[in-house]
């Protein structure tokens, strides 16, 4: 257990280092980019003095290193500053939108795993049959579909042609507490993001199970007369799941990227849309805040993925 603890500490230290690096680079990128928030805030023509006044009010006239240090010192205490545009605390803006994003990405991931793992198993076990063809079609389509277009086509089908499901938003206005309304609104965006995500999980389940089925212990299990189902599900799949867990971990960044587009298509009030809006308005504190939160979530999820290995395979130990 002591080995695990020092491993986790080491990883956390690494993660912290990465967060500092990423935030520094991002901070620098935003400051060297041409044009600043003053152009967006004032709009139209404005004098150089007006611009200077705004930059001074926002603290943009101070040395870059000092600006970063101020931001970082506050961020460590959970204060992400205030939006240039609305003046709202960034932490509040993000907290309000984190829930919908986690619901969307979590639902999509669950859906993807629930469909892709059994399909991957079938494709591997029934190699060369229709199941295998279906599996490779799914994985191929998944990596070739533009997610935003898939979303729009689903809206066309299930909201326009067949008026079954609402095309946008989290729930009807004023009915955010209504579970049924929330679920109905979540179906299409979750499906959109989940279908795209399915591809990688399904492909890895298949190839990794194929690999496992070639191993000696599988032959032994078969030789001692175990039923086929038991061999696949208990012996082979358990070993095949490690790469699958890796893929799920590795696909988190794509999941977040996909959420940006999916949220835009479905007017889903998550942090993806918050970020898109902030980027166009040069709302630096919001951009920094969203990225920090996303980075923390991704890094944490990666760490949890690595720890999940030890549960699946007790032979793996970290030190």
């Amino acid at each position: 257990m002591g080995g695990l603890r020092s491993y986790v500490l080491k990883r956390l230290g690494f993660a912290a280092l990465m967060l500092v690096g990423v935030s520094m680079i991002l901070f620098a990128i935003m400051r060297v980019a041409p044009g600043g928030p003053e152009a967006v805030l004032v709009g139209g023509e404005f004098s150089a003095e007006a611009a200077a006044r705004i930059r001074q009010r926002l603290g943009l006239d101070r040395p870059l290193a000092l600006q970063y240090a101020t931001w970082a010192a506050a961020a460590v205490r959970g204060d992400l500053g205030r939006s240039f545009k609305t003046g709202d605390p960034v932490a509040t803006l993000i907290a309000d939108r984190l829930g919908p994003t986690l619901q969307l990405t979590g639902g999509a991931l669950l859906f993807a795993v629930a469909v892709a793992v059994p399909l991957g198993v079938l494709a591997a076990v029934r190699r060369g049959t229709a199941w295998d063809t279906l599996g490779s079609a799914v994985s191929l389509f998944g990596v070739s579909f533009p997610s935003f277009w898939l979303g729009i086509m689903l809206i066309l089908l299930f909201s326009e042609a067949l008026p079954w499901l609402p095309p946008s938003g989290l729930a009807e206005y004023g009915r955010e507490g209504d579970v049924l309304s929330r679920v109905r609104h979540a179906v299409l965006p979750t499906l959109t993001l989940g279908l795209i995500q399915m591809a990688a999980v399904m492909r890895f389940t298949r190839s990794s199970l194929l690999e496992a089925l070639r191993q000696d212990y599988v032959r032994t299990a078969r030789a001692k007369g175990l039923a086929d189902g038991r061999v696949v599900w208990r012996h082979a799949l358990r070993n095949a799941l490690i790469p699958v867990v890796t893929v799920i971990g590795l696909s988190l960044p794509t999941l977040v990227g996909g959420a940006v587009l999916t949220e835009t298509v479905f007017a889903w009030p998550g942090i993806g849309r918050l970020a898109v809006g902030a980027v166009f308005e040069r709302d630096y504190p919001v951009i920094m805040g969203v990225n920090l939160v996303v980075a923390v979530v991704v890094v944490t999820a990666n760490l949890l993925t690595d720890l999940a290995y030890t549960v699946i395979d007790p032979r793996i130990s970290y030190r």
Binding site: M18, G21, V22, L26, I29, M30, A33, P34, G35, R127, G128, L140, F141, V143, S144, F145, P146, S147, F148, W149, I152, M153, I155, L156, E160, R203, S207, L210, L250, L252, P253, T254, V256, G257, G258, V260, L261, T264, V265, A275, V276, V279, F280, R282, I287, N291, V294, A295, V298, V299, N302
Partner: protein, 279 residues
């Protein structure tokens, strides 16, 4: 050798289908001025929102512009950015991946940790920020897409060079006193070329997908020049009355990306028939 590769590729059904899709899209892009039936920008209020028919095969959009012509012209932007980004990504990925695989040790460790860091950044997010702040020029967009796609390429090339390094011809080159650059360039990377070519085809699909996402968010080619992504956005508002405006440009993205993916799969199998069906 080359001929047999071609025969194997064409004998590979999915690879051949992919090659065909890619060839059609490339031809559309290159020959756009000649093959597009109408101008991509001429508006006609009397021809607004025409459904697909004889005069306009894929219908017209909200400004009365021919959707087919715009899809054809739109392929240019997507393919230009796709090829440029892929080239940049492969150059960086092959150089770094090759160096990591060849030198091993500390260099390998350092390069791959950096690659890991890039892999854990939500790509679209980063691309969105940089393109929005610095402007959506062809070069900017391609550069930043390359920045987020070089890492997987580096990983693949590294794996290949790691394996090639132990082969006899590489050992022989070392024994003959060849320099690092020569061994890496002539002996390792040249022999890793099949893997790199396959990677190029898959990367093309991926970069085109990223570009289309950017132009969907409004960061692609600027109107009236069409890009597939912004055509889909324009079509979104007419979804109830004129589905074809959003449907066809999206279909074009899908067919192109699918084509490059199939082509890549076909190439992989043609280069190495033993690998067929394993991944």
């Amino acid at each position: 050798m080359k001929a047999s590769l071609l025969v194997r590729l064409l004998g590979h059904r999915r690879g051949a289908v992919g090659a065909l899709a890619v060839a059609v899209m490339l031809a559309a892009g290159v020959l756009a001025p000649a093959v597009a039936p109408y101008s991509y920008s001429t508006q006609s209020l009397t021809q607004r929102l025409q459904p697909p028919g004889r005069a306009h095969w894929l219908g017209t959009d909200g400004f009365g512009r021919d959707v087919l012509s715009r899809v054809i012209w739109g392929s240019r932007v997507s393919l230009e950015i796709g090829f440029l980004a892929t080239a940049l990504s492969l150059v960086v990925g092959s150089a770094l991946g090759g160096a990591a695989g060849y030198f091993g040790g500390t260099a390998d460790h350092a390069i791959m940790r950096v690659a890991d860091a890039f892999l854990s950044v939500p790509a679209l997010f980063l691309v969105l920020i940089v393109v929005a702040l610095f402007g959506a020029s062809l070069l900017n967009t391609a550069l930043v897409i390359a920045l987020v796609t070089w890492a997987p390429a580096a990983r693949v090339v590294r794996g290949e060079c790691l394996a090639l390094r132990t082969r006899e011809f590489a050992q022989a080159a070392v024994a003959l006193g060849a320099g690092h650059a020569r061994i890496l360039g002539r002996h390792l990377l040249l022999n890793a070329l099949p893997v790199i070519v396959v990677q190029a085809s898959l990367l093309l699909g991926q970069t085109i997908l990223i570009e289309s996402g950017l132009s969907y968010l409004g960061l692609g080619a600027q109107p009236p020049l069409p890009s597939w992504g912004n055509m889909v956005v324009e079509g979104r508002q007419f979804l109830a009355s004129a589905w074809w405006i959003a449907a066809f440009p999206g279909l074009a993205i899908f067919v192109t990306v699918l084509g490059f993916n199939l082509f890549g799969d076909g190439l992989r199998d043609a280069f190495d028939p033993a690998l067929r069906g394993t991944s």
